[in-house]
Symmetry: C2
Subunit: 625 residues, 2 copies
């Protein structure tokens, strides 16, 4: 049976699914089909495995047990499970941030050959936020002090994380009042795991409030540190052209694909790939050069800072291997399907894992650390070149498309002439109705890229500026929304504004941790207006999310005051209380709520309605939706 048209809207995806069917190689959609029907208890969040008096299940129809062995009811069980999802998501982002801080510390000590401080201006600016005097100091000395101060944010001694001071004063006061101001990044995750242990927090409201704090420790802590330190080390992104989709692979070159989330490994791989010695070696082996491409957020990191081409997002990761053109895939961590090595085994692709915290069956493990990364990168790129000779049939089904990436907040403000005011003016004038962040993953439960692309299309044609990150950003790039000419898809006001600024109507803000760039921009806009983020005509959406990180992102975005729509339903439907709090009750608490709407057409209507409503409350012109 061929499903390639129902699984994805993308041409490269459809053709490669067809190829994998004919190659008889299993895909994520096959495994998803094999799991049907998925367990209803788990899906509703009503199963509990927190202790071995259980496992327990609450009957959603009210006929079987309504509580677990300990007495926990549906509300508690659902809230505990959700709290742990957020804890894992926050931990993943924050541990990623920690790794960057450790590289920064190693650079300061001159123990990380190949790494350097690239953006000293940003180094000084962030150091000042941590109260570090920078006058007359060498960048390395400042970096050392900054790394030390950032490590303190992970600990247990602080009352408030340093970068929460970037939030509007009103928002900070609200967090203090609610007792959800994050104190320590790891601390909040540990406390989440403690609270969800049997017999600790059995208040579903207090659990969920702590989850907001835990998520804020990600958004205004771990992820924000990850982004800022990545910029300091590897450069703050500026708009630059790139290419996207499976067509970025080249039949006549050695294709090295990097996949994962952390730029620490891929930056060194990029440096190795651009060495003349390597090009020469590749040519000796019959290739016309070395072609470095990205996947997922490691790809986004390189795309944002260096214009490295992007082969695809989450659900493309298996398909890209099936081109037969990938001589090596180098992975770091997060969202790397363990299935990849099985797919690679059907072709010639050499799979390399690089992180001490992420091994995969069937991959060769080459462990990268700050002190050896430069050398290891050379080793693996050489091995990739050697593997070129082992290629079988190659099938690169499409030509690549153009796109522009690199919209850091600094770049956006610079494009606006040095201040966010022109953007605010355009919003006040109603040319731009508002802005929406479209973020998150792919999920086989949603037709691949359909959620992202449809929602984006509907928003820009209604004069809503879209900023995007992660797999959503890749989807929108592949849909052709990230070139200046894409203003043709925009409504008249947005077309005018973007046209005059020569920017696309859909701005690539980076990887998943870079969602914090959206927070920083939103805070800057609110500060400029002297108001809170929750008053702005903004919205967020994760139309195809799948991961725990996405839940943490959604939670910190909502806790920061931005209305957010999830595509797939999180496993909470077993508790009407939890659903009600998240989708309605939070409005009174943090001035924003979640909504769940898998149909992007309907999600677009919800966002347009929300933005017009926010405009009305701000005293701006508003329309009925």
């Amino acid at each position: 049976m061929t499903h390639h048209h129902t699984y994805t809207i993308t041409k490269d995806g459809q053709l490669l699914i067809k190829k994998m069917e004919s190659d008889q190689v299993e895909t994520v959609w096959d495994r998803h089909a094999a799991q049907q029907p998925q367990c209803g208890f788990c899906d509703l969040g009503l199963s509990c495995r927190i202790c071995v008096m259980g496992p327990c299940r609450v009957d959603p129809f009210g006929e079987g047990p309504q509580q677990g062995v300990c007495g926990a009811d549906a509300d508690i069980i659902v809230a505990r499970n959700l709290c742990r999802m957020i804890a894992a998501g926050a931990a993943a982002h924050s541990d990623h941030g920690r790794d960057l801080v450790e590289v920064l510390a190693a650079v300061a000590e001159n123990k990380a050959p190949g790494y350097a401080i690239t953006d000293t201006e940003k180094l000084n600016r962030v150091a000042a936020e941590y109260g570090i005097a920078t006058d007359g100091k060498k960048p390395e000395a400042i970096a050392g002090e900054l790394a030390y101060a950032m490590q303190e944010d992970f600990g247990t001694r602080k009352k408030e994380l340093a970068l929460t001071a970037r939030a509007p004063e009103k928002r900070q006061q609200l967090w203090r009042k609610l007792n959800i101001m994050p104190r320590g990044i790891d601390r909040e995750t540990s406390e989440a795991m403690h609270r969800t242990h049997m017999g600790v927090d059995n208040g579903w409201q207090s659990l969920l409030l702590h989850s907001l704090r835990n998520a804020l420790s990600d958004g205004w802590g771990g992820s924000m540190i990850a982004t800022e330190v990545s910029d300091i080390l590897f450069g703050t992104p500026k708009p630059a052209p790139t290419k996207v989709n499976a067509g970025v692979l080249k039949a006549d070159q050695v294709n090295v694909v990097v996949h994962g989330h952390n730029p620490v490994v891929s930056e060194m791989v990029m440096a190795a790939c651009s060495e003349a010695e390597m090009t020469k070696l590749a040519e000796e082996k019959g290739a016309k050069g070395i072609n470095l491409c990205g996947l997922c957020c490691t790809g986004n990191e390189l795309l944002m800072r260096h214009g490295i081409p992007m082969a695809g997002n989450h659900l493309m990761t298996e398909l890209i291997i099936a081109t037969g053109a990938v001589d090596m895939m180098i992975v770091d961590y997060q969202c790397i399907m363990p299935a990849l090595s099985k797919v690679a085994a059907c072709y010639h692709t050499k799979m390399i894992s690089t992180s001490d915290k992420a091994r995969f069956p069937g991959m060769e493990h080459v462990e990268f650390h700050p002190d050896n990364a430069q050398k290891k990168a050379y080793d693996v790129v050489k091995a990739a070149i050697e593997n070129f000779a082992n290629r079988g049939e190659v099938y690169i089904p499409v030509e690549p498309l153009d796109a522009v990436g690199g919209f850091s907040v600094e770049a956006v403000v610079s494009a606006l002439g040095g201040t966010p005011e022109p953007l605010l003016d355009a919003i006040k004038a109603g040319k731009i109705r508002g802005a929406a962040g479209i973020v998150g993953c792919n999920n086989p439960k949603i037709k691949h890229d359909y959620g992202h692309v449809t929602l984006t299309k509907r928003l820009i044609e209604n004069d809503i500026l879209v900023v995007d990150t992660g797999c959503a950003a890749v989807a929108n790039a592949k849909a052709g929304f990230k070139v200046a000419e894409a203003i043709a898809h925009a409504g008249p006001g947005l077309k005018e504004v973007c046209g005059s600024l020569e920017i696309p109507p859909v701005l690539h803000f980076g990887s998943c941790v870079d969602n914090v760039r959206i927070l920083v921009l939103a805070a800057a806009l609110a500060n400029e207006l002297g108001t809170d983020i929750s008053d702005l005509p903004l919205a967020g959406a994760a139309p195809e999310w799948y991961s725990e990180k996405a839940v943490s992102i959604g939670a910190y975005v909502v806790a920061s005051g931005i209305y957010t729509i999830l595509g797939p339903m999180p496993p909470i439907a077993g508790s009407m209380n939890v659903v009600e709090l998240l989708t309605t009750g939070l409005q009174e608490v943090v001035g924003a709520t979640f909504a769940v709407e898998p149909d992007p057409e309907k999600a677009a209507v919800l966002i347009r309605g929300h933005i017009e409503n926010q405009r009305r409350n701000l005293g701006l012109d508003s329309a009925e939706v």
Copy 2:
């Protein structure tokens, strides 16, 4: 249907179950029965809810799917689930430790009225381990520095936790070699949550190794800090007589029961209960005084340091309320069944929750903090006294038994004359064959107290010294093993040694976090012999465990080199690789393994065999078992 004889071996338990049946009040056993059959996928560890591409299930019979949507197989799914259990257990203990460090810091700043440094000798000793000079400083100044240094252990900057230096040098070297030396307490928990996110660590071995590191950050970190700081603040335990079982409740007094794990609240409650003003008030209300009793580990904390009587362990917590004699139950956190307030609603018991991280439906929340705890304790004790008038029928079914608690390592060494040598001599001479720690919870899957008591009986009659903690310690106290006369149950050698020292053959080592006292003693013995812990004739057992904390304890005990038997099977049977590694393979890695044996008679044979085998390897006389 009456099950009271099949549910528990205890007389008070049987009679109170009968009463609850006749009162038509639901018990934990009823809820356990209602959950049958429990989900086989969850029970085997084969269900995965880590992302919303799932939920997924691996078919244990090999007929259905063998991998989740991402491609994770049974090994990865089982290992990830176990890793998260250990993370939650480690987080619970360590967050408890953090709370004590915060009280220590508040005492140092004179911001915790009612709290004080009680054991300055221990304060100085522990401070020295943290490299803090103590000469000529006031205790409060030292406490401030120690709290600060301990907070550093929770963070991200250290390479090794301070108290790991207590482990034998060989063991420390092994941890370094295996790369499982814990670096930061919260850090290891966060990294566990990161590694178990979709697409991060898919090596089941590397996941489990990290779990050992995470557990070590509990045993030689969070829990050890909890115990040491509790001793510094509230006194290092010394042997003292007490009373145990439901009979400690008094029909003619105001009964205040404290339940949970952290002594911070209960110490203040104890102080309030002993005020003359309170006694007077109680007498005015028609009571003959105020009777403070403990449950579970909060009870153990008070029992160890002050001889406060112990009403029961985990599965007794509902039944104690059914006596109708409990005027107030004050809970802090961990292992507090949310069902308790439903039971309390059927009697007159007033339920008070006290921690900002642990709320319960149906309880009154009176939040204790270091700065207000003394005052809040007065308030709640007064409310307990007021509630005496609301009592209905009271049924205290048994008379209390005598027991002796308070065996800190310091107390044991003191009883031995100031050095552990006499204990080693008795072991070398074969009078004592070895020692076993019996620890952990109750679980309705095992007949209440049967596992603990049967195993203890078999071990002491075979000349194996038993030290116990937590619910196991309460079970053994209720069985009459904790009086000097209990040497009648011991074999001839143990009887001789304990008789001459005038100690019971079963030594109460404290609460669950106090399992670290076992580590400290084991390390001291190994250091005295110039060997590693794994060479000693020691074993551990958790015959009736139920909680994630118990899994963390088991993991740090095994990673410290002590063979450990679990009663109930953890949810790992879905992966033969994981089972094999934990029960066999770990021997080569850390010199100890887990075993699973729900039948305590068989567990006793396993432990005896292990201890005789260890004796043989040490060149001591040994017997066939």
